[in-house]
Subunit: 254 residues, 2 copies
Amino acid sequence: MPSIALVIEFDGTDFVGWQIQDNGRSVQEAVQTALSELYKEDIKVTGSSRTDAGVHARGMVCSAKVPFNIPADKLPLACNALLPPDVAVVRAIDVSEGFNARFDSLGKRYVYRIVHDRVRHPLLRRYAHFVTGRLDVEAMNEAAACFAGEHDFTAFCAAGGSQNTTVRRLRSVEVRADEQTGVIEIEVTGEAFLYNMVRIIAGTLLYVGQGKIAAGDIPAVIESRDREKAGKTLPPEGLTLEEVFYAPDLHINP
Amino acid sequence: MPSIALVIEFDGTDFVGWQIQDNGRSVQEAVQTALSELYKEDIKVTGSSRTDAGVHARGMVCSAKVPFNIPADKLPLACNALLPPDVAVVRAIDVSEGFNARFDSLGKRYVYRIVHDRVRHPLLRRYAHFVTGRLDVEAMNEAAACFAGEHDFTAFCAAGGSQNTTVRRLRSVEVRADEQTGVIEIEVTGEAFLYNMVRIIAGTLLYVGQGKIAAGDIPAVIESRDREKAGKTLPPEGLTLEEVFYAPDLHINP
């Protein structure tokens, strides 16, 4: 049976998240329904990660076994004709039979977007979290650098996760501000993540920007392994899964 | 009675347009309702222009007479607490009593956004019109320059307008492409506009990009004064009223 990988973009606003759930529309179900219609039999997909309700993706990856071959350059258009407006396949890649989007993933890149201004902006509200008041972006960037490397991220993990270890390795955390639009991007790249980890790191960096936590105290917050010492979990609309990384010979990353 | 000007941003997706209508939510009504609640009496606002259903604005301007003075730096926050999420006051300006947002306007700047790619993009779909296939942006820019200056724009006017003359002066029409996002911006700046004029100019430039009209034929299309010779009216979601211009001493434009 041929195996495929699909790169998926979705607007998470009106989804309960990636994974199929009883309580509403999931992206996984939308993709499975479209593929099942296309291939005329039940197709199951494996996502690279779950995303929470309201979180967006520009580069979610999922894998599936399919009964016959549709050329990879034709597959996105064929799927998109069957998908709702808030989800689309942006690339399809033929992969070898054993490929699994979750277990073969080497890492992910997320961006948390904050719109920082005196007034809220309706045209940005679906994709960025609105913050007003003073914000020291330089301090946020200084604090961000402390997250890189291997740490026990217990302080940045929501209750309810079921992992064996809370040690994770982040490649980089960077903060960029666009003066013209007021949009601040917190980019987090790492191998694997704990539950709500990016949204808690973003909330902690926001506290640093607001002067509630000193940039120099971040190493101590990490070492404390105390969720109470870190910042709030920021709301989902600011978060976008930008990219999932795989071995270069798979040609999934452009 | 004090007079105020408000700069309004709104996501037009779920509005029937600026102007109050019987058939749904209008931005004007939302703004009037918020101001009436704030000032505890009926407030009417005058918009700089009508916008159609689905069209967005980052810089719509409206004027109103109000019963008492609220400091201009406090007014946006007070209004925004009473406005729905898809509309906000981004600036308030104290103006002299005779000010009228419509009649005192000196011009407007619109941007029509196209997302050009092989596949559609859910995260851009609310604010850009999706176009696939070959597109010659250089030819579009060459054609765009032909629209500047004073012309009879009958070929670029939807039926149903009630103007005395179809002659209008455009300051500039420019086409910019962002290679990274695939977003093409058509920026149109002018003194006044006919009904659907920007969306028809954008549709004509799209035809030029697609090779359906030669860039060199644009002057003849304008001179024809024949709506059939111009391109299609592009859909509203791509259009944003970016800015309305007033005399500098009014301090409405930042």
